[in-house]
Symmetry: C2
Subunit: 197 residues, 2 copies
Amino acid sequence: MYEGAIQDLIDELGRLPGIGPKSAQRLAFHVLQADTADVTRLATALTRVKELVRFCSVCFNVAESERCRICRDPRRTDETICVVEEPKDVVAIEKTGEFRGRYHVLGGAINPLEGVGPDSLRIRELMARLSAGEVKELILATDPNTEGEATATYIALLVKPMGLAVTRLASGLPVGGDLEYADEVTLGRAFEGRRAV
Amino acid sequence: MYEGAIQDLIDELGRLPGIGPKSAQRLAFHVLQADTADVTRLATALTRVKELVRFCSVCFNVAESERCRICRDPRRTDETICVVEEPKDVVAIEKTGEFRGRYHVLGGAINPLEGVGPDSLRIRELMARLSAGEVKELILATDPNTEGEATATYIALLVKPMGLAVTRLASGLPVGGDLEYADEVTLGRAFEGRRAV
């Protein structure tokens, strides 16, 4: 309905996930009224991501060199590997400051309905890292949902014979939450995992 | 928390209106995994909008030449001008197919709380267009909210002495709506504006 360039921008923005036609229109008019410098910075950031960002050759986290910042850090221990689904999970765990080992990013979780089998994930690469024999503990930090649990169980079965400790993040009540509002499964897990005080 | 380029993109996307940190991260990872051609097209569309799109010198709708498509159309009448707040209102009215006159885009509505007075809008330019004497009817199609009503009243007072018809879009029940769910003000307006059948 608009002329040329503005309609092109609305169309392109509308292709992004979670951006509907109304949001695309609102964003396009924001761009039209924004400073040219700001718009140029956004356009440059978009193309630079495609040019510069790749996946770490060791852990498959996002990186700008062959190995990511975490894999290059000599102060971190090689004895523990934390397995996650996506690079954003690495960021979430790094924010806790609790973990000083290395990561392994699978690139998703087993999901037969969407055609994601173990071969689509970086499980083979994980096994290769473990076979070097330096790792003492493997922490399975996939999401606490059906797909994440299935992936964790699958990896645990593969790894168990190698004789290293395999752990899973604790499930239970979220801190600051309300017992009353917890769903039955979470509350059940919290009972199962109860600890002496 | 991410390295270089991906964090830059998250930051730039997070500056857009209505895009929070989580959405910015989700969009950045979408871009990372998208086809380079798609990302290039989005980046180009962004810069092209700033290069090509300007405002029509007559009605201040978005345009890619000195006058917009609607102002250039010889099949439309110059006798009616429809006053709207934003270019997106032009698109909304064009979709109805009801209107064959010209538009005037104010660029907003009077809003003293946000420091938008009549001088910040293109009201002076509207008066100049009307003084040419060709216009027979001015349709005030600003939004049916406090700011839009104030703007319509302000323009009506200015224009009345010029002796042309000044009309306002009807307020009433939305078609397909439910009488029970209409707010009191809308229902009151619907009573006020009742028509013989």
